[in-house]
């Protein structure tokens, strides 16, 4: 089975290696450029020393505006890729056999078809793990200076680094295998698997992920330049930034203030400047309320996300093997 699987999937394996090579070719030089700028702007010392000073704020802002946009563009563009790769590889596994009638050749040799499918899934799955883990390594290295500033929870980082990319691809692969079995044609199976992939992937990113663990709420002394969440945000406290879910003003007891009142306060502070704004806010007795997932939860979240997708993949593959075993046509 090893030789046969390699013979049937070697074009895909080589395409995967080519993708790794191409990615490395593009991102390694670019990663060096980022590292040069990182050193030149003194971003590293700023992050270590504390980030409050105006010099550091502008250095980091310059650095981020130079690279973050491009990095996020490239990596956002990459978001559907694991779904496509997984769907194509998975759908062709059975879809192609049915389309060309070769299932009748494959399953009349002396390998029972459930073992045939199990072996193929394991071998192709292993190939997917190797290829996606390599891609994640390239992306992780490339992004690490940016991640130092903005954290690893931004979508461009979290979705491509660590284990998540592998989990996504395996899930799309499993959906492709099942769709190939149900549709018996490759192209409709790819479309169905990709649609299923996006239908799970997007709600997880925008709704479910932030709920993996209860976020931490912190009350800080108010400051005039609050606001600003998202990948462009520059940290105002030392340490690797986490994933800020919500920033707003709160009263003394920590209850959020209504948005109408917040707008009113924010109009006033804009008229004032720096220290005057801060003391005005202190005078009101309000606090800055930050709701966030701390940076050190990155790996916990990665494991949860990967377990979710790999678990779904295992369920779909289990269904495929059972269906093939019982299949009457």
């Amino acid at each position: 089975m090893i030789w046969l699987t390699w013979r049937q999937h070697r074009a895909q394996a080589l395409a995967g290696l080519a993708l790794i090579g191409l990615t490395a070719l593009v991102f390694l030089p670019y990663g060096h450029a980022i590292r040069d700028a990182y050193a030149q702007h003194g971003v590293g010392p700023c992050l270590v020393r504390g980030t409050g000073g105006d010099g550091c704020q502008s250095a980091m802002s310059t650095f981020m505006s130079q690279f973050n946009g491009i990095a996020n563009h490239l990596l956002t563009w990459f978001t559907p890729v694991p779904g496509l790769i997984g769907a194509i590889v998975g759908a062709s596994l059975l879809g192609r056999e049915y389309e060309h009638g070769t299932w009748r050749l494959a399953w009349t040799q002396a390998v029972p078809r459930t073992r045939w499918l199990t072996d193929k899934i394991l071998l192709v799955g292993l190939g997917i793990v190797v290829i996606t883990a390599s891609l994640s390594a390239v992306f992780g290295w490339f992004r690490s200076p940016i991640d130092d500033v903005s954290g690893r929870f931004s979508p461009g980082a979290f979705d491509l680094e660590g284990l998540s990319l592998t989990g996504y691809t395996l899930f799309a692969f499993a959906a492709g295998v099942l769709a190939g079995l149900l549709f018996r044609r490759t192209v409709p199976a790819i479309a169905a698997a990709f649609a299923a992939f996006m239908a799970v992937r997007l709600p997880v990113e925008f709704w479910l992920r932030q709920r993996y663990q209860t976020p931490v709420t912190r009350l800080l002394p108010p400051t005039g330049h609050w606001g600003g969440i998202g990948p462009m945000a520059v940290p105002t406290t030392p340490g690797t930034p986490g994933w800020t879910l919500d920033v707003g003003l709160a009263d003394r007891t920590g209850h959020p203030i209504s948005s109408a009142v917040q707008d009113e306060i924010s109009r006033r502070t804009q008229a004032l400047h720096g220290p005057a704004a801060d003391s005005y806010l202190r005078g009101l007795g309000v606090r800055l309320r930050v709701v966030y997932q701390p940076a050190d939860r990155f790996w916990t979240f990665q494991v949860i996300e990967a377990a979710l997708f790999i678990g779904l993949a295992a369920v779909l593959l289990g269904i495929s093997i059972r269906l093939l075993h019982r299949r009457s046509a």
Partner: protein, 289 residues
């Protein structure tokens, strides 16, 4: 003789339509069995049930005493199958296909396969997709025979082949029968291809078994009775089909009744295989069995 294949009440349903129903047959080992029927009669379904590619909706199939649903490596190893249109991985070279066979089978006779292909002038380095239809059929057959199967199943092996490729293909099959005494089950809707090589006949129509038996016996069992035209359907025991021309009526009857009680002017002839098969295929299905 112990059966190579035995089915009991075998049935296969796709959705609501039965492709095969109530099929019970015992096919003896060592014979060459022709499975005949029009398109859509259930021939492919029957063969795929035998090879374990399909699981029956009802009934059982046993190949050399083992349930075909079993699908174990040992059961699969005993059956060589050449599917309709002889599917091959088009991108594989012939050598790749042999290597696939070697790696997926318990028994594998590589020298046999290489010798057969060499005799036919099929180069091992050539891509399957670049071979002619006849050559692809031969490669598929070589793959099936290299398994050293006890039962060789061929689904419409001669369709889409030119006369020379047909002859060569059947020569290879018959050589294997002579050398290894394997049992062969082949389907076709072209009767002329089968008469010379088969000793058993199995006739399917509309998913129902019409007739099964050794060809000699089947022919000896049937008589054609010719007499003056009678318009009302004669109540002859064992009547298979009646045809009427201007002056005559021909009745194909299944014997036991070697002298039906008819007017003495009726004459009785033996029937040919083709005539017999056509008579069974043309009669309305309601009368079946």
């Amino acid at each position: 003789m112990s059966p190579a294949l035995e089915t009991k009440g075998l049935g296969m349903r796709y959705g609501r339509a039965w492709a095969l129903r109530d099929c019970s047959v015992r096919l003896p080992a060592g014979s060459v069995i022709a499975l005949v029927g029009p398109n859509g009669a259930g021939k492919t379904t029957f063969l795929q049930l035998v090879t374990g590619l399909l699981r029956p909706t009802e009934g059982t199939v046993e190949v050399f005493g083992q349930d075909a649903r079993d699908g174990s490596a040992e059961a699969l190893a005993r059956v060589g199958f050449v599917a309709q249109e002889h599917p091959l991985y088009q991108g594989f070279s012939v050598a790749d296909l042999l290597r696939m066979g070697r790696s997926l089978n318990l028994r594998w006779d590589q020298p046999l396969a290489e010798r057969r292909l060499d005799e036919l002038g099929i180069p091992l380095a050539k891509r399957a997709g670049a071979l002619s239809g006849g050559q692809q059929a031969q490669v598929t057959l070589a793959l099936a025979l290299a398994k050293r199967p006890a039962l060789l199943v061929l689904d419409e092996p001669l369709a889409n082949l030119d006369p020379i490729a047909r002859r060569d293909f059947m020569r290879t099959v018959m050589a294997a029968v002579a050398e290894d005494e394997i049992t062969v089950l082949l389907s076709s809707h072209v009767i002329a291809d089968l008469e010379a090589v088969c000793d058993w006949l199995m006739l399917l129509k509309d998913g129902r078994l019409q007739l099964a038996g050794e060809i000699e016996d089947v022919l000896a069992d049937h008589r054609m009775l010719t007499g003056p035209r009678t318009d009302d359907e004669p109540a002859v025991p064992g009547l298979v089909r009646a045809t009427h021309s201007d002056r005559h009526t021909d009745l194909l009857v299944r014997a036991g009744t070697d002298r039906p009680e008819l007017h003495p002017t009726w004459r009785s002839h033996p029937v040919g295989l083709e005539e017999l098969i056509l008579a069974y295929l043309e009669r309305p299905t309601e009368i079946a069995r």
